[in-house]
């Protein structure tokens, strides 16, 4: 088993999992908030926010990666500030890969959650209000439980997208083995050298296995949550 994948390959797999995990966990609360605002409020600049969220879905990933480099790179406005204020560096670090993955996965996540929120009957929320629940409590006790399947779906979708992210990641944080070399970057690197096909194919199998596992997990969680909500 150990010689089936090299230690370097394992590091790439582990890094991809870590990057995707953090990208999903950190962006999920923001994604829920943005989805709620887009679904429930009509305000000036709503279309602008909507466009901004969806931009990474439409832009070439290389462009997104480059824009991240300009903004969050060591010399970028935000990057320089975060470096000085918190010692937080994104450029050419795994944190940068997580940021790139989060940005790329964000629109998919928001879409799934927003659809779930739009499916919640606002009249149920109004009913909760008449029973004495303030807005935040209505969200926690009524809206959130009802959109849980959507949140699970959004998170899994986001995780899967983060696992597969390549263009923006390689542009923003390059392809440094052990540091920023994720699973897709590793496959790409193998394909660049003569005789690397076999190693690349083994990683492809790993990628397929992880994707299938995530899919099955989401199906199972989604179904059990839906059953709990629908009750009967």
């Amino acid at each position: 088993m150990t010689d089936w994948l090299t230690p370097e390959d394992w590091r790439a797999v582990a890094l991809s999992l870590r990057v995707s995990f953090w990208a999903t966990v950190v962006s999920l609360p923001v994604g829920i908030a943005v989805a709620y605002v887009l679904a429930r409020y009509r305000f000036w600049g709503r279309q602008l926010l909507n466009g901004l969220v969806h931009l990474p879905l439409i832009l070439p990933p290389v462009v997104t990666g480059y824009l991240l480099l300009l903004t969050f790179g060591r010399k970028g406005a935000v990057g320089a500030f975060l470096d000085q204020a918190f010692g937080l560096v994104f450029a050419f670090r795994w944190t940068g890969a997580a940021l790139a993955a989060a940005v790329m996965a964000f629109p998919l996540m928001v879409r799934a959650i927003r659809m779930a929120i739009e499916a919640v009957d606002p009249r149920l929320e109004a009913a909760a209000g008449t029973l004495g629940a303030s807005r935040p409590w209505v969200f926690v006790t009524v809206t959130l439980p009802l959109i849980l399947p959507g949140i699970v779906a959004g998170a899994i979708l986001g995780f899967a997208k983060a696992m597969g992210e390549f263009g923006a990641t390689i542009t923003f944080v390059a392809n440094i083995p052990g540091q920023t070399q994720t699973l897709p970057s590793a496959i790409y690197a193998y394909l660049q050298v003569p005789g690397g096909d076999a190693a690349a194919f083994r990683l492809v199998l790993v990628a397929i296995a992880i994707a299938m596992l995530a899919l099955l997990l989401s199906e199972w969680v989604g179904r059990s949550v839906a059953r709990r909500i629908a009750g009967a």
């Binding site: 009913a127 008449t130 909500i229 009750g231 009967a232």
Partner: protein, 362 residues
């Protein structure tokens, strides 16, 4: 406990402009669909912000456009029972019932056991709303609102989505609610039979305005209110006490005007009842009729004769301490020489009084 409502709200092509006071007891907002009933109740609940006006419950101002007051929905403490129940699908019946408890101020509210008993919903506790019938859902919704310890209950046609059999199932529970709890109720209805059974005060809305308002008994037996309530639906309410069930299936009731026999009434002897008698089911005679199939003949005195614009007339009679309405033709009224103070006999067919016209009275 009184609720003062004065509000104005403009919709496209429709302006609501109403003012009324709902005293303690059950106040019915009665009117056709589109008359603005639900808008009024939504404004009271805080779900709709009217253009102008003032809403106060027992002097506690909930909304005042002049004073810039608009208390948030969740702080108004008004239990709202929606037409469509709106139970939370992800919670069990028990969790639904106790939902408002989390947010209600500690204090002497209705205990859970009493509400379960009052509404007969104890066996449903572990179920989810998806597994309830329409009638059960309505009862749980009423219980949920009641348990949030509200200063007042708002009922928006809680029976509109139910068929006749389910309505008959819910009505007794609402009567018990009226008679056994201290919570005042404001309820919206377009069914006069429902209003006659439940209301102590009636506010009639038409096209966004208050047409008439007053105590239920008075309104229902006032010939002048007949056009507002609808001529075919008009009828007065008699207070009665159930004396006994007789062998042939009739029930004998005692009213202040004399005995009344009705088809079997589902209540125990001794029970106090409200019996609605439709004006068009009351026949008048100058002498006590004999050899007639109608069982109920009550002596009465004419108190009002109101001639309509068409061929009809509505006569108000005092029978004992209660009032009756009779709908007759103008021709008969003139031929009989009906005038205020005249002695007549009111003839009522037993079978004309439907089961749904008889309800409990505390």
């Amino acid at each position: 406990m009184t609720l003062d409502v004065r509000l104005r709200h403009a919709f496209a092509g429709f302006t609501l402009d109403v003012a009324f006071t709902a005293p303690a007891g059950v106040t019915a907002l009665f009117g056709r669909s589109g008359s603005g009933k639900t808008t009024v109740i939504n404004a009271v609940a805080g779900l709709l912000r009217p253009d102008a006006g003032r809403i106060a419950s027992d002097g506690r101002v909930l909304f005042d456009s002049a004073g810039g007051v608009n208390v948030a929905v969740h702080r108004r403490r008004l239990g709202y029972v929606f037409q469509d129940a709106r139970l939370f699908p992800h919670l069990t019946v028990r969790q639904n019932l106790l939902y408002g408890r989390w947010f209600a101020p500690r204090g002497p509210g209705e205990p859970l056991e009493r509400v379960l008993d009052l509404l007969g919903i104890e066996p449903l506790l572990a179920r989810r709303p998806g597994a309830l019938s329409g009638g059960e859902r309505s009862r749980v919704a009423i219980g949920r609102a009641l348990l949030s310890n509200p200063a007042m209950l708002l009922l928006d046609e809680p029976m509109a989505a139910l068929d006749e059999a389910r309505k008959a199932e819910i009505l007794p529970y609402l009567e018990r609610l009226r008679d056994e709890t201290q919570v005042p109720i404001l309820f919206v209805s377009h069914a006069i039979a429902e209003v006659a059974r439940l209301a102590t005060t009636i506010v009639v809305l038409e096209a966004g305005h208050v047409l008439r308002a007053g105590p239920a008994q008075e309104m229902l037996s006032d010939p002048a209110a007949v056009p507002a309530l609808g001529i075919r639906e008009a009828g007065s309410v008699l207070a009665a006490r159930l004396v006994r069930h007789e062998a042939d299936g009739l029930s004998r009731l005692e009213t202040s005007a004399g005995p009344l026999w009705l088809p079997h009434v589902a209540a125990d002897p001794g029970a106090m009842l409200r019996v609605r008698i439709a004006a068009q089911d009351v026949m008048l005679a100058l002498t006590r009729p004999e050899g007639i199939s109608a069982l109920n003949i009550l002596p009465a005195t004419v108190t009002v004769v109101r001639l309509g614009e068409g061929p009809g007339a509505v006569v108000q009679l005092r029978a004992g301490t209660d009032f009756l309405l009779a709908r007759v033709t103008r021709r008969s009224a003139e031929a009989m020489g009906l005038a205020v103070g005249g002695r007549v006999f009111a003839v009522i067919k037993s079978v004309a009084v439907a089961q749904s016209d008889v309800g409990g009275a505390g």
